[in-house]
């Protein structure tokens, strides 16, 4: 019997989350580009304009969700690509830990930045 070439893990949930975040990101990434490059122009960006958007709870929470889903989708995509190339054993565990740490740092830094704009959670 021919060897089965796949990194797909039966019963795994990362595959499903990669698809669910993809469906969300398709819409939000397109919105992000459209809002910040077409409705507003990149060279007109100021702290005050970013602040005005971030002070709205709807926009603030959407951007936090965008940050978390984009980080998961991107980092999980990198991990899947490396596993697909044959990453295994101790190196796989090490890569998983490093990517996990990088994700946490990115999300923390992104949330800190959002809070700096909004002046705290805009409730």
């Amino acid at each position: 019997m021919a060897e089965r070439y796949t990194s797909f893990e039966p019963g795994g949930r990362r595959w499903l989350w990669q698809r669910l975040t993809a469906a969300f990101l398709v819409v939000v990434l397109a919105f992000h580009f459209f809002l910040l490059h077409f409705l507003n122009h990149a060279d007109e960006v100021t702290f005050a304009l970013s602040q005005a958007r971030m002070e709205q709870l709807t926009y603030f929470s959407l951007m936090i969700l965008f940050l978390v889903t984009a980080t998961f989708h991107g980092v999980n995509g990198v991990y899947n690509a490396l596993v697909n190339q044959g990453l295994s054993g101790t190196r796989k565990t090490a890569v998983k830990a490093i990517l996990g740490l990088a994700s946490v740092l990115l999300i923390v830094q992104g949330v800190r930045t959002a809070l700096a704009w909004a002046g705290g959670v805009p409730i």
Binding site: H37, H41, D43, A48, T71, V78
Partner: protein, 131 residues
């Protein structure tokens, strides 16, 4: 029982002329994915200048946006993002069992639509920059 051989990455890619549409779609999706995740980290790093105060943020963004090379890179980013979105939609549909028989045509459609959107966006992305 069939024997499997690991030909190695370089030899695999040396046969690029024999690649089918689906293989190109896979390569482009990986490539654009790597670029986008790299950009995500860079993007948050640049936006973090907001932590140093309003003036630091505004000056950093406006200085970057005044550079032609940054605008050109942004057009490249748009191309990468649009292709990843369109090909991602194609993958979602294929995963749901829709359009598998037309997966090569939907890849070509993704490429063409990416090209059209990017070309149409160039004037917007380059507006107000001095050469």
């Amino acid at each position: 029982m069939s024997q499997s051989y690991n030909r190695g990455l370089i030899e695999d890619f040396s046969r690029w002329r024999e690649f089918s549409a689906g293989m190109w779609a896979w390569i482009f999706h990986k490539f654009t994915g790597w670029v986008l995740v790299g950009y995500l980290f860079t993007h948050i790093a640049v936006l973090s200048t907001a932590l140093s105060g309003a003036a630091a943020y505004t000056n950093t963004i406006q200085a970057l946006e005044s550079l032609l090379v940054v605008r050109i890179l942004e057009v490249g980013l748009l191309a990468v993002a649009v292709f990843h979105i369109l090909n991602g939609l194609r993958l979602l549909f294929v995963d749901l069992g829709v359009g598998l028989e037309a997966q090569d045509r939907s890849f070509y459609a993704s490429l063409i639509l990416t090209g059209v959107i990017v070309v149409a966006s160039v004037p917007t992305f380059l507006s107000g920059v001095s050469i």
